[in-house]
């Protein structure tokens, strides 16, 4: 007992000493890679950012792993989507980290979804409808107009949390907005032929992309959000797709391609895997690369 107590105290004091090194940059923990990329765009060298999830993970289903608690412990700012996307794990990180700065309601907790208009807001919120998000569809980052809006709000929040570098963030945001606007014009031109094309999607996570490009997301492969499609259900989808053909079957890279391939083989429409976020493909190194890749794959599959 005594030995344990002593080693416990020794461990504690070593840790306290280890905690001393001065913080050079603002430490930011982003819940998803897209927000980590945006923080990098706006923060530059004044922030040190890491993402809690990778592009290969489903942001709905993440475990509150010890490593994430450790990272949340030292974060000055959490940048997340909100709108209940991270409800299964983020509250635990906030609670277990013992970090007062990142609690709900504090400036150190930034929710992107609060700064954009959400689509697909359900009329009735009931679990019988599957994994519904009462606040609306949280997969906002696949509409570049939302990225621009969130960037403005994020620059303001960075300036609030790190007053000393407020000018730096504002300057970088202006620069980012200019480049983003120019890139958006390029993407919209490339995506023009997609307007009005009916598509099937695996989950509702591509709906913002569809609404921006004017794609008609006429059917989802999941019977209900978050519920994997059975073969029987896919049969129904196939019947409807044969009745009203779609041009493409889209799914995000972190979702199993099996359902999309099954439908593609039987309906003739190509199955297209889309990089869902930054890091999901070799080209999607940053937000610009992500949209470049999306707007290369989509018109390519239309032909």
């Amino acid at each position: 007992m005594k030995i344990f107590a002593l080693s416990w105290l020794a461990g504690l004091s070593i840790m306290l000493l280890a905690a001393q090194p001065a913080r050079a940059a603002l430490s930011v923990l982003a819940c998803e890679p897209e927000w980590a990329a945006l923080v990098e765009e706006i923060g530059g060298d004044r922030v040190r950012v890491s993402s809690a999830t990778t592009a290969k993970q489903d942001p709905h289903r993440i475990e509150a792993r010890p490593s994430l608690i450790a990272r949340a412990r030292s974060a000055d700012l959490l940048v997340c989507t909100g709108a209940e996307l991270e409800v299964g794990w983020l509250p635990l990180l906030q609670r277990e980290s013992g970090n007062a700065r990142i609690q709900p309601g504090k400036p150190g907790y930034f929710e992107a979804a609060r700064h954009v208009t959400l689509i697909d807001k359900p009329q009735i919120v009931d679990r019988s409808m599957g994994d519904v998000h009462a606040a609306g569809n949280p997969h906002i980052h696949l509409d570049p107009r939302n990225i621009a809006r969130v960037a403005d709000a994020l620059a303001a929040r960075l300036a609030q949390v790190d007053v000393a570098n407020a000018g730096h963030y504002a300057e970088r945001n202006r620069d980012f907005q200019q480049r983003w606007l120019a890139a958006m014009a390029r993407w919209e031109a490339r995506g023009a032929p997609l307007k009005g094309a009916p598509v099937a999607t695996h989950h509702k996570n591509l709906n913002y992309l569809a609404s921006w490009l004017g794609l008609k997301a006429v059917i989802t492969l999941e019977p209900k959000p978050g519920v994997d499609p059975s073969v029987a259900y896919l049969g129904e989808v196939l019947a409807r797709v044969k009745d009203r053909p779609v041009k493409m079957i889209l799914h995000a890279n972190y979702e199993s391609p099996r359902a999309s391939r099954w439908l593609s083989e039987r309906s003739g429409a190509p199955a297209v895997e889309l990089p869902y976020t930054v890091g999901a493909s070799a080209a999607a190194r940053d937000l610009f690369g992500l949209y470049d890749d999306l707007l290369a794959r989509l018109p390519g599959a239309l032909k």
Binding site: L12, K56, P66, G98
Partner: protein, 451 residues
């Protein structure tokens, strides 16, 4: 052919005849009247059309507005609903087929054991409430409801604004020792608790007291905790006799692996802890223990998910080792009619050092299906009864163990159906093949589960 020509000429005559009969002036007046009627109607139709158009645009505008207000980010949702605590209700029930009644040979029980009822039964229904109290505290309560009783399993407040990695929890809570201890039955991977916890901790150890936790500001997860309180079930209610210390360390290995290891120490004072022991006449003697219990627990959890995405496939390995040392005074009592050796009551010294461990693996091979295996083993260790108990109570020479195999089906995150088969050799002289069918449903705002 002939008929049709005849009819046509007849009609022609009919039409032609009035024109011939009406004078020109009247004819003109009629034409004029018709023209007037026509223009009046046209005017009225135009007016109606414009009214319809106006109504349509109005409706469209209203619809747009409605859509906008529906999808606008609404920072201020209606307060009456959002200020309610998160409420969840957990329904669990089962069918259990077994020969024994969950008796474990060679260990003085510490607190009540979970239901081992046979046949159909509902386990405790759990009602969980939790919310932020204000910017400084969070509150949480867990009530286990059974026939005729409501047990407060947890009721605590926790700080959220201390910062620097510190959190303080006060009230009744499940102790942070070990790994499984903080989990409620609905979060267990098997239908019952592991043998080591069941034999030595009364399945879970609750505290009425205070807990301080500190997370170190290191890239590797390091957490230290200390508790002071009174054990919930069998602790000394008049003395602060229950202290716990624990340390956790954990990290990731690449994107696919993560782990946590822990070491915990618990010292508790037992005040009239009730139990039972098979005496030398093979009768079950009631026992009361007063004394000191010390526990060491080592725990380890490792989880694997391809690329860190656990949805389609994942694996969880978990193992714990428990050691309990006890010394104090034991009283035993039993019914003379049973021929019990303790008849009339005997008191004497009691000292024991015992241990147990389990290891389990659970594999999700499909988004909806998991399969798991667990092995439990106990070591009765050294059990020394005072001379007063000579010929009355003695240490059995036996090693309790159990194999469990489970398969569960999870149509969603909120429902689980489980089949468990076990070969239970925890009671001396009984090799019990058990079958359990179980359901666990969680209704309402179910909070996130710990790693």
């Amino acid at each position: 052919m002939f008929k049709r020509t005849l009819m046509a000429s007849a009609i022609a005559t009919l039409f032609a005849s009035p024109a011939h009969a009406v004078p020109d002036a009247e004819w003109a007046a009629m034409k004029d009247e018709i023209r007037q009627m026509k223009s009046a109607y046209e005017a009225r139709i135009a007016e109606l059309e414009s009214r319809v158009k106006a109504a349509e645009t109005k409706a469209a505008v209203a619809e747009d507005k409605a859509m906008e207000s529906a999808s606008r980010p609404s920072p201020a949702a209606s307060a009456s609903n959002t200020l309610n605590p998160d409420i969840s209700l957990i329904l669990q029930g089962r069918y259990h087929n077994a020969e024994g009644d969950g008796h474990i040979t060679g260990f003085l029980p510490a607190g009540h054991a979970h239901g081992s009822e046979k046949g159909f039964s509902i386990d405790h229904t759990e009602l969980v409430l939790g919310a932020s109290i204000d910017p400084y505290f969070r509150g949480h309560a867990n009530f286990a409801i059974a026939d005729g009783e409501v047990e407060t399993e947890e009721a605590w407040v926790q700080t959220t604004a201390l910062g620097h990695g510190f959190t303080v929890k006060g009230g009744r809570f499940l102790s942070g020792i070990g790994y499984t201890n903080e989990l409620h039955p609905h979060a267990w991977d098997f239908a019952n608790q592991n043998l080591a916890y069941a034999a030595m901790l009364g399945e879970r150890y609750g505290q009425d007291g205070v807990q301080v936790k500190w997370v170190a500001p290191t890239p590797v997860f390091l957490e230290f905790g200390a508790e002071a309180g009174q054990g919930k079930d069998w602790g000394d209610k008049n003395n602060l006799g229950s202290y716990a210390l624990f340390a956790h360390v954990g990290d990731d290995l690449g994107d696919s692996h993560s782990w946590r290891a822990g070491l915990s120490y618990l010292r508790a004072r037992a005040d009239g802890r009730e139990g039972h022991w098979d005496d030398d006449n093979d009768a079950e003697a009631e026992s009361l223990f007063n004394g000191r219990s010390r526990y060491w627990i080592a725990d380890f959890v490792w989880k694997w998910a391809p690329d860190g995405n656990p949805r389609y496939r994942n694996f969880k390995f978990q193992a714990e080792y428990l050691r309990r040392s006890e010394s104090g005074e034991l009283e035993c009592e039993d019914n003379a009619a049973d021929g019990g050796a303790c008849a009339g009551g005997i008191a004497g010294d009691y000292r024991a050092r015992q241990s147990g461990w389990y290891a389990q693996g659970v594999y999700r091979f499909h988004p909806e299906w998991r399969i798991g295996y667990r092995y439990d083993r106990l070591n009765i260790g050294s059990v020394n009864f005072g001379p007063e108990f000579s010929g009355v109570l003695s240490r059995p020479s036996f090693t309790p163990s159990r194999h469990s195999l489970m398969l569960d089906y999870n149509p969603s995150e909120f429902s689980r159906l489980r089949l468990q088969l076990a070969q239970d050799k925890a009671e001396q002289g009984l090799s019990d093949n058990q079958l359990t069918l179980q359901y666990i449903y969680s209704l309402g705002a179910h909070g996130a589960h710990k790693f």
